[in-house]
Amino acid sequence: MPTTPTAADIAAAADATTAAPSASDTVDALADLADLAGHTSTLLFDYRRNNPTASDIAQALNLEQTLDQRAIDLRVQAVKLLGANAADALAQLKDASQKVDDFLTDEKKIEGRLVLASAVVGLAGAALVGDAGGILAAVVAVHAALPDAKV
């Protein structure tokens, strides 16, 4: 006939399996261990609340708090490992964003030169649509654009 597990019984297995993980543990494994510790802690909490006169209440509370802390530690470790694993990717995305910003800043800086370039292209346009006098006038426009380009 099966006996009702005591607080110590409930915690024993979880305590053993949620011991400090090795460096090779993955984030998923750490998260799973945290879940196990948290779940066992909740079982002990319910045991305490539903069996207020049990003889091992104090022990249950002690184990519950130990497992609570272990769940927190494991989740913190999981996030730290996530951050370490993604550090290169984070740096690369940041670099890419900076590269785009730098490019657009440079575009602004050469805006003056583009004014001149546009005027030159305008000259070609004048040649297409205008007469000889128009082309001559467009040459003047290029010179007129030069001061703007230096601003």
């Binding site: 984030v27 998260a31 609340r49 802390q69 290169d88 984070l90 964003s97 467009a138």
Partner: protein, 296 residues
Amino acid sequence: MPFRPLAAIAALLLGGCAAQMQPVADFGAAANHLAGVYKPFAAGMGASCEQRERYVALGNPGPFDDAATQRAAQERCKPLKEAGVTAALFGQALADYAAALVKVSGAKATAFDGDLRGLSGAAGKLATRDGTPLFDSTKLAAATKIARAAAALVTEARLEVLTRETLQDNQDALKGVVEAMQTYADKVYAGQLTDTHDVMTGELDRLVVASNAPTQAEVESRLPWRFAQTAARADIAANELEARRARAFAKTADALLAAHADLIANFDKIGGARRLELVSAFVAQVQAINDDAAAL
């Protein structure tokens, strides 16, 4: 009129290029949306831990001081709050990348407006000594349109090269960051939410039992437990909604990565319907999460 075909060509050139970059802008906006959905998750883990600690403290023997309980919960969950700062970095990196894509896809629209106004202004002021304008307005308009089209093509070519390189170079980095966000949301944060949920539902069950009044005379003494059920149910509902958001996040993040890969594969295809469909589907999924949140 001899000028209309030229103007039409210029408009076609400008319009065609703008359309090609539109999916990049749409993708950037969608990625930004995803980063916004993720943001509360980073701080949420510490908050959920504190909530669990408070519920547990309610069931402990000895004196009970709510303010002291809150302080103790904050102290115990402090490491998780600090870990949330690391978790927030993933969302920030995604948001920065998304903003960069939006910027690079939309910058061409304004890059030359000032130049062309400058050109028009300078040329329009040119006049002979007797005051006759050298350029009549029609010729100037036609020349300006050609200039605009040609200059915009040069800039857009540069922007498109940058955009294509940005997308290609960062596909793996984006995958790494988004997968870290998924793992955090779906495994670590969801696990904490489940722990908190289980403690709260256990307490609610006990409140229901404690609320039982076999006789009318006993009802009065059971009212505190009966009223307390409402607050517990609200806490549980909020917890369950957050868990749904964390799970939905994983799916939408998958859609985002697929859309990014598709943008790269189809970058040269103007009007690539598939990538637009993917991005649209992604935005719809994010919207569904927000609808859930609005229902709170």
